[in-house]
Each structure stands twice: as structure tokens, then as C-alpha cells.
């Protein structure tokens, strides 16, 4: 993309997204282009800004067209954009072209003014490996590729007519010689693991799980935008903790007491086994209604302080509001904040609070 148009294009994007204070916001329309992908029609979003001008209104207006049709027959869309044909096809419903996840992460980052994540330590170093997978015309004799050199020499001699089958000696010349050579292969080392923990005790309602789901999705996307490889671990707990798959994570509802420490212990175990902090950027997010078994609290805090926090890039505690829970666990986690920069605690009373909470979680740039 050229530099000049890039500038104008970015300016346009910023106006459309409302990043630039402008009188134009009321003229922005969500246009679309109708495209075809296989058998489906897809809608390609095409925001437009229409600068006002003196124009005729619709009343009394008209024009000239070409084609079949009787007088009095309505036109499908005489001036409308897009393809009128789309309407004729039975059930030809239109899909939206999705934003790519990168685009979405970019918008999220812009909206919330999130700092970019700085992967910690040596884990973000890209190691480069030299691999001998390539061929060059020059090089040391020790790296000469015998087979290729021989073939080229043979070919040259045959085409030149000096190859004698009865005296099959092939003498390579300088131009025939081929040498092995290397290529730089970058091996991405900045990998991350996200551990989601959720309280599924009886007090968590579906609405609260939905909040967790939305929040986890955005967190996931933001972190994914910064690392080459991401692994996700889901842990649910009531009085005992289990590692589960994504679907189960969001759809389980159990009953019974709550022992948060069980989840932290399991997370700790998983990290030790699979995601050594030496190699992984580990993120842990815990969502709960803040109601814990009284005796368990000191155990949880000790677990966090002594073992878990040292291994994590970030520990996020999100507390959803529950009609039943006391919500006192939030205060305990909150106390950790002073000594531990990698702890974030956030309250998410309702859906509106999700955005602010994401900002709290990810605003640390860790």
C-alpha cells in the first residue's frame, strides 16, 4: 500500500471509529458490499461517510432504466447498491464477513487503550536455527553437493556433445558446482498458557457464567494477539477441582460447597507438570462469586503468596455478583495487591462492567 493512501486510509478509519473528533460522525453509514463465497452471499462491511450536499428528495424523482417489465411494476432496487439478484435466490441468506481476530484485538486495544503485553524474561527471545536446506552457487568445497554437481556437469556435457558413454568420466567445472547452504529458521519461543478457573458451586447462575464466558473470550483474544502459541486450560471447582474442556467449563452447573484452594492446587500442579514457568508465560484468571468456605481462605492466600504467584505473569481475580455469595474473598485478594504487582482484582457486577474489568485485567501490560 502506498504511503500517501495509507495515511488517508488510516485517517478515514479513525474517523469511522470515532477516534477523531469530527462533525462527520452523523454522516457515517454502515454500507456493505455483497460478495459471493462458494454458494453463500457474504456481506463485506463498507462504512461510508456521505458529505451533505444539495440533493433532490425522493418524492417526484425518477430516472431511466433498461430491460423487461410492465408499466407499474416495481423495480427491485433502481439506485440501491448491491445485487438485486441476491433477493431472487430462495433462502440466499447473507453472512457477515468476520473481522479477523487480529483486527478485533487491535480495535480492543485501541478502545481500551491497552498497553501491549511485554512477555517476560528470555521467553520472548526468538531462537534462530540454521538449517542446511538450501543450495548456493558458491561455498567451501567441504559443503559441495556431490549429486547435484554431478547432475549439472553431466547435463552440460551431454548438451555440449562431449559426453562419451564409453568413457563416462564427468568432469565438473566451476559453473556446475553446487554447495549446501543454510537458512535461518526462527523458532518462536514466546508461548503462553492461560488457565481459567471458575467457581461452579450452586450460587453461580447462568447469567454469571455468560459474563465469565464473554470476558474470557476477550482476554483470550488479547493475549493471543501477543504470543505465537497459546494453550488454554480450564478448571472448574466447587469443593473439589477438575480440569475440563471448554464446553464443560461453560456449561457445568454443580452444587455444593466451595473450596477455592482446590482449584489453586490443581492449577499449581498443572503448571509444574506441563507449563514450566521457565518456558511459558502463564496467565491465570479466576472467576468466582467470592463465597468461600471460611477455613479455606487463609490456605488460599498462602498458596497464592508462596507458590502460585511466583510462577505467573498475571493472576486475575474476577468476582461476579451473586445473590447468594458474601463476596468477601475479593477483599482478601485485594490485600495482596500492594506486595504483588502481578495480581489484579476486579468486580463484575453485570454485563456493563465487563469492558471496565477487561481493562483492569489487561491494563497492566504483563
Amino acid at each position: 500500500m502506498g504511503q500517501k493512501i495509507e495515511r488517508d486510509y488510516q485517517r478515514f478509519r479513525r474517523i469511522v471509529r470515532g477516534k477523531v473528533k469530527s462533525n462527520l460522525s452523523k454522516y457515517i453509514s454502515r454500507g456493505e458490499m455483497i460478495g459471493k463465497k462458494g454458494r453463500d452471499f457474504v456481506s463485506i462491511p463498507l462504512p461510508q461517510i456521505e458529505i451533505p450536499q444539495f440533493r433532490y428528495g425522493q418524492k417526484g424523482s425518477g430516472g431511466v432504466g433498461q430491460g423487461d417489465g410492465d408499466v407499474g411494476q416495481p423495480l427491485s432496487s433502481p439506485q440501491g447498491d448491491g445485487e438485486p439478484k441476491a433477493g431472487d435466490q430462495p433462502g440466499g441468506h447473507i453472512l457477515e464477513v468476520e473481522l479477523t481476530l487480529e483486527e478485533m484485538a487491535e480495535i480492543l486495544g485501541e478502545e481500551l487503550a491497552l498497553p501491549r503485553i511485554e512477555p517476560k524474561g528470555k521467553k520472548n527471545i526468538l531462537t534462530r536455527r540454521d538449517r542446511y536446506t538450501s543450495i548456493r552457487q558458491v561455498g567451501p568445497e567441504s559443503l559441495r553437493h556431490f549429486k547435484r554437481t554431478y547432475k549439472r556437469a553431466l547435463r552440460r556435457m551431454i548438451t555440449a556433445g562431449i559426453y562419451d558413454p564409453f568413457d563416462p568420466r564427468v568432469i565438473p567445472e566451476r559453473q556446475d558446482k553446487q554447495y549446501r547452504s543454510w537458512k535461518d529458521t526462527p523458532l518462536p519461543q514466546s508461548v503462553a498458557c492461560i488457565i481459567y478457573m471458575m467457581d461452579v458451586s450452586g450460587s453461580m447462575t447462568d447469567e454469571q457464567k455468560e459474563i465469565v464466558r464473554i470476558e474470557a473470550f476477550w482476554i483470550d483474544m488479547w493475549i493471543k494477539a501477543h504470543y505465537e502459541g497459546i494453550e488454554t486450560v480450564y478448571i472448574i471447582h466447587d469443593a473439589v477441582a477438575h480440569e475440563v474442556d471448554e464446553h464443560t467449563f461453560y456449561h457445568t452447573r454443580e452444587s455444593g460447597g466451595t473450596k477455592i484452594s482446590s482449584a489453586y492446587e490443581l492449577a499449581n500442579k498443572i503448571i509444574d507438570h506441563r507449563y514450566s514457568p521457565q518456558e511459558w508465560n502463564v496467565y491465570a484468571f479466576h472467576f468466582s462469586d467470592g463465597d468461600n468456605w471460611g477455613d479455606d481462605v487463609p490456605h488460599c492466600i498462602n498458596l497464592l503468596k508462596d507458590t502460585l504467584l511466583a510462577k505467573l505473569n498475571l493472576f486475575g481475580y474476577g468476582q461476579v455478583e451473586s445473590p447468594y455469595g458474601s463476596g468477601e474473598f475479593f477483599d482478601y485478594v485485594h490485600e495482596l495487591l500492594g506486595d504483588h504487582p502481578n495480581v489484579v482484582a476486579s468486580r463484575i457486577p453485570d454485563r456493563e462492567a465487563i469492558l471496565g474489568s477487561i481493562k483492569e485485567f489487561l491494563g497492566t501490560g504483563r
Partner: protein, 516 residues
């Protein structure tokens, strides 16, 4: 150009270019030197977003155009075939990845355009060094951006673009004003001006020969006359609203310059909109003639036919200027070849005779060359659209129906089709707006006048445009128009919009309010 494309024609294309250029000249086309540049799709999208010019002033609207072109291309929905600039030399762009037969078609098409640019009367006034001028405009505006800030300059550009169609399209051919400003703002004391008739008289007869009452009445009349003259400013309604604003609005110098840049470019692009049907028709006529008679290899026929028909295809019920133009030109050529014109043919009532009418005149080619020299779209349609043509090409007119909120096929009669078509071309299908008074109510307010011809203005747009005009004029701005059959005065005073029925004044309004 700040960046350089590797745009040289590769040798194979250069050979084709020379071949096609020779054919074009052989057919009698006459054009400036034409430079073909070979660019990648992305570069072509960029250039096209800038209206064909590699350097323009910075503005988001080009970015918007670019996004549309790029998405259209990326998703395989649209593709720019040809892009040519009215300049001396003409610049035209070829997309690098196009198939060879496409390149041939585009070249042949481009020579048609170049000939049209050079020879059509409506292009006569355009600058042929626009490439350079556009770049100058760009650097001027860039300088203002540096000096006054991006937001401020951009906001002003937005306002200018909102009114950039308020120009006088015929002013290039008609001298409407003297070379000097007609407006004189110097302070003159009234005594100098008012001279009454005094007859020579002796002192004692003075009051009798020149009675004071008569003199007073005469003075009064003269003052009234003068005021009337002073108030009508401009003398006649001025269609070139932009020029009026440049001359008389209290703008800063940079703003005046920006407005004049917008106006210059509007006048440069105007003839292209004025001759869209003819220009595309002419270029298509020539690409099809040159390709089918000279250039095409047998193996390329299918690809050529595919792309030619793609260009000529109708989308929905919309008129395709390429199609309408080429068919009308061919129709004219055929009519003048066979002599189907003039009173003898017009007055012939015998359908059979008309159908087989052939005087073997062979004047067709000559006629279309004349047409391309003297006509624009309006005169072209007005002169050459025939009932037979409308019927053959299934033209119809459509109209908006209030009750259903839909456009409906209105008629297939020749008169109605022609009327609708001409209406949509007249003043580019935009309302006629004039400056009526630059000192309205004697308070320096601006009065515009919408010459209503049956269709009301789109009200929300009209209001917002008034707002932009008010910013430029800096005093209240009014627009005389007709809304739903009632003469109305739309006003914007900087804070709020009002719409008053005309004929009602502030004075009798308050009287009315008091009476209630």
C-alpha cells in the same frame, strides 16, 4: 511523484501499443501523446482512489474510495480495467497482471478517450497540465496542514466538499461578467450621488422655479433607486456560488485558497461528468472497432467477447453509460450511412419504406466524428435519441411512488423516457442553486435561491449544507425553496435552523402572536 513505480512498458506491450496507436491514427483519431504505465493492482487502486492522479491533497475521502476499491478487488467483485487522465501527455494505467487481450482492449479504449479529451468542445477549457496542478494543490494544502493543523484544515475541506457542486457549468462558454468586479465597496457620501434637477433662476424666483417639495420628492426617489441598486448584489442570480464566496466571504487567506483549489478541481472534472455517456460510448466504439477489425487473434476472440460484454452489461435496471453511448453512436452511424434523417425521412409515413430506407450515403463515420466534437450528453440525447432506439433497447422510465415508497416502472413512451433521461443529466441531476442576495435584509446575510423544477430538496442534507455555507459566510444564510408546494425560506443563523413560509415577515408574526 514522490515514489516511483517501475512503470515502463515491457517490450511485448510496447510493440502492441505502437501497433494499436497506428491503427487508431489510421481511423482518424487524433490525440495527445499517450503514456501507458504498468502498475500493480494495489497501486492502481491507490491511483484510482485519487481520481487518476498520483498526487493529490490529503483527505480521508480518498482513503474511503480506496477501501471500497481494494475490498472490491480483494473479494473479486470489481476490477478497474482502464484509467486514463485528461492531460498532455495523456496518462493511462495498465494493470500488470491483466491478460494480454485485456491490455489490448484497454489500449484501444484509451485511445478513444484521449481523442475525445482533445477534440470534444466541452474539454476545451480544461487545463492540460492537471497532473502538475494537482500536485501543486496537494503541496499547498499540505503546507496549510502543517501551519494550521490537520483537524482545522480537514474540517474546512469537508465543508468545501459539501458545496463543491455549486458551480456554473456553462460559465466556461458564456461570458457572464466583466473582467473587473462589478461591486464597488468604496465609501461614497450620498451627497455626491444625488443630483436633482435644478433650473437656473434668479434668487427671488428660486422657490417658484425649483419648488422645494418637488426637489425633496426627487431626492427621495433617487435615494430609493440607489438603495435598490445597492441591495441587489449580485445583479443577477449567480450560479457560481463558489466564486461568489471566494470573492465576498470573509475568509482567511488560506481558506480562500483551499476553496479556490476545490473550485478549480470541480471545473476540471466537470466535463467528464458532462460527457460520461458520450465519452465511454466513443471509447467503447473504438475499442470494439479496432479490436474486431484489426488487432484480435482468432485465439483471443472468446476472451475479448467475454470482457466486452462484461463492460456493456446492465446491472439491474440501471442505465450503463458504456452501453447507451456505444449503441447510440452505432445507431447514428447507421442512420447517416443509410440517410435516415432529414425531413424526407421524418415525414415518410410508410413503415415498410422506412424500414428499408437506404440512400447509400455512407456519411456515418463522418457524422459521429462531428458528434464527438460538438455534443455533450444532454445535447447528444436530445438530438439523437429516437423512439425506435428506445423500443429496440427496451428503455423505460421509472418514478418514485409515495404510497409504497418504491420505484416503479412509469412509462415506455418515448417522450417520458427522454424527459426523465434529460432531467437526470441536466445540471448532473442536482438542484439549481443560485446566490440571490449577498446583503440580504441589508444585514450582510446571504440569500440563496433554489430554482424549483418539480422536485423538493432532500431536507436533512439541505440543512446540513446550509450549515456549512453559514460557516463560510459567517453571517446567517437563507435558502428560498419550495417545500410541498409552499414557498419556504430555510435559514440557519449559526445556532438554529428555521423554516418559514415565505411572505410572512417577523413583524406580522409578532402581531399575530399578540393577537392570540
Amino acid at each position: 511523484m514522490s515514489r516511483f513505480y517501475s512503470t515502463n512498458l515491457p517490450p511485448d506491450l510496447r510493440i502492441i501499443k505502437e501497433e494499436i496507436e497506428a491503427y487508431a491514427r489510421e481511423y482518424g483519431l487524433d490525440f495527445y501523446e499517450t503514456i501507458f504505465e504498468v502498475v500493480d493492482a494495489d497501486d492502481l487502486n491507490e491511483i484510482a482512489a485519487y481520481g487518476g492522479f498520483p498526487t493529490r491533497y490529503p483527505h480521508w475521502s480518498f482513503g474511503m474510495a480506496y477501501e471500497e476499491l481494494r475490498k472490491g478487488y480483494d473479494y473479486g467483485l470489481s476490477k478497474i480495467y482502464e484509467m486514463v487522465i485528461n492531460n498532455d501527455p495523456c496518462y493511462a494505467y495498465l494493470m500488470r497482471c491483466n491478460h494480454l487481450v485485456d491490455q489490448k482492449l484497454v489500449m484501444a479504449h484509451v485511445y478513444g478517450h484521449c481523442d475525445f479529451f482533445k477534440n470534444n468542445a466541452y474539454f476545451a477549457h480544461t487545463s492540460r497540465k492537471m497532473m502538475d496542478e494537482m500536485a501543486n494543490h496537494g503541496s499547498r494544502i499540505r503546507r496549510y496542514v502543517e501551519k494550521y493543523g490537520e483537524d482545522e484544515v480537514e474540517a474546512f475541506l469537508d465543508r468545501c466538499m459539501s458545496i463543491d457542486d455549486l458551480i456554473d457549468i456553462h460559465s466556461t462558454a458564456i461570458k457572464r461578467r466583466g473582467d473587473f468586479s462589478r461591486y464597488d465597496f468604496s465609501d461614497k457620501s450620498e451627497e455626491d450621488e444625488i443630483k436633482t434637477t435644478r433650473f437656473k433662476s434668479k434668487d427671488y424666483m428660486a422657490d417658484y422655479i425649483n419648488p422645494p417639495s418637488v426637489i425633496k420628492a426627487e431626492e427621495e426617489e433617487a435615494r430609493k433607486r440607489m438603495e435598490a441598486v445597492a441591495r441587489s448584489f449580485p445583479e443577477q442570480p449567480e450560479k457560481d456560488v463558489l466564486l461568489f464566496l471566494i470573492d465576498h466571504a470573509p475568509l482567511k487567506n488560506w481558506q480562500r485558497d483551499v476553496l479556490s483549489i476545490i473550485r478549480d478541481e470541480a471545473y476540471y472534472f466537470m466535463p467528464q461528468a458532462q460527457t460520461k455517456i458520450m465519452n465511454e460510448g466513443w471509447a467503447s466504439y473504438w475499442h470494439s472497432t479496432i479490436m474486431t477489425q484489426k488487432v484480435l487473434q482468432p485465439s483471443e476472440i472468446v476472451d475479448y467477447a467475454d470482457h466486452h460484454s462484461g463492460t456493456m452489461a446492465m446491472h439491474g435496471a440501471r442505465i450503463n453509460p458504456y452501453k447507451l453511448g456505444i449503441e447510440l453512436l452505432r445507431n447514428i452511424e447507421q442512420r447517416w450511412n443509410t440517410g435516415r434523417f432529414g425531413p424526407e425521412y421524418e415525414n415518410c409515413d410508410d413503415i415498410d419504406a422506412r424500414r428499408t430506407w437506404d440512400r447509400k450515403l455512407g456519411l456515418g463515420r463522418k457524422k459521429i466524428f462531428e458528434v464527438r466534437r460538438v455534443h455533450n450528453d444532454i445535447t447528444f440525447i436530445d438530438t439523437f435519441l429516437t423512439p425506435e432506439f428506445c423500443e429496440e433497447h427496451k428503455l423505460f422510465s421509472y418514478a418514485f411512488v409515495d404510497q409504497t415508497g418504491q420505484y416503479v416502472i412509469e412509462s415506455r413512451t418515448f417522450e417520458q423516457i427522454k424527459k426523465r433521461l434529460l432531467f437526470s443529466l441536466t445540471n448532473f441531476g442536482k438542484p439549481w442553486i443560485y446566490v440571490k442576495d449577498g446583503n440580504f435584509r441589508n444585514r450582510g446575510e446571504l440569500l440563496l435561491w433554489h430554482s424549483h423544477n418539480g422536485i423538493d430538496l432532500k431536507l436533512d442534507h439541505a440543512r446540513d449544507t446550509l450549515q456549512n455555507l453559514q460557516f463560510v459566510w459567517s453571517r446567517p444564510v437563507h435558502l428560498e425553496t419550495i417545500l410541498e408546494g409552499k414557498p419556504t425560506l430555510l435559514s440557519f443563523d449559526g445556532n438554529e435552523h428555521t423554516a418559514k413560509p415565505m411572505g410572512e415577515t417577523d413583524a406580522n408574526r409578532t402581531a399575530l402572536a399578540k393577537a392570540r
